[in-house]
Symmetry: C2
Subunit: 164 residues, 2 copies
Amino acid sequence: MIHRSGCPINLTIEVLGDRWSVIVLRDMMFGNRRTYGELLNLSLERIASNILAARMQHLLAEGLVTSAVDPSHKQRKIYSLTENAIQLVPAIVHLGAWGLQHTPSSPVLSIRARLLADGGPKLWEAFMSELRYLHLGTAQPQVSVLAELETAYRAASEAAISSA
Amino acid sequence: MIHRSGCPINLTIEVLGDRWSVIVLRDMMFGNRRTYGELLNLSLERIASNILAARMQHLLAEGLVTSAVDPSHKQRKIYSLTENAIQLVPAIVHLGAWGLQHTPSSPVLSIRARLLADGGPKLWEAFMSELRYLHLGTAQPQVSVLAELETAYRAASEAAISSA
């Protein structure tokens, strides 16, 4: 890839690629989606299959994602975040925090972004440790930030349904 | 605009638009470029005129930028960042910080990103206060972060030239 400039902001945007790549990283990070099928079928934004395939190739080529054969299902690939991708957590949390303040985001879909924004760097570090455990095989942290986010999201979803 | 989902991360990415919009915001924030000519002619990434025109329209429509007639030159417009855009500073600084660690960024072009990343939230707040002064007409802060960044950038440029 020929870079348009050596500015670190420009280079980061080039590596991230288009919006769909960020959506895929978000779903792998916060939704723990690990297979093509999960990324495709559970996509909130209804990503098209050809776009998802192209974005996975981009993320693999840029070293943000790796793939391996699923030991329980040989035809299937499991995708993992790399350390480089995990280090994008603070930037992505900041994008979400801005969206909470300045866009008409859905209250239910905002729960996880709000918990992460409010938790600050200490919570992001704990979340990144958990991602390293899940994706890179490091030691399991004592607390699961993902489980806390999921519990809060489910509670908000149920509250929204029962008040509808 | 029909949003693909109400997720705050997705909505932020939709508002930002493509990579060129982020480049324009970067140049307005860190390079203090305020006119179409400055954004076009000083563009490190050599943005094309039709792309710049389209991105300015996008940023105006999304409420990240406003435009006004330049009092000293009636044919010219001055662009200003809005409060919403200024609040993107921490997210953009995080993108730059990631680029410093994980991309082959140019040492000279990295100076400002490094100072901002190392300065932490206190420096970002001071920089945002300065942007509010420059773009929104609030009181002038006592310290100019922009001048500090510019001084460091020039010193690094000159050092690179004399060692070449």
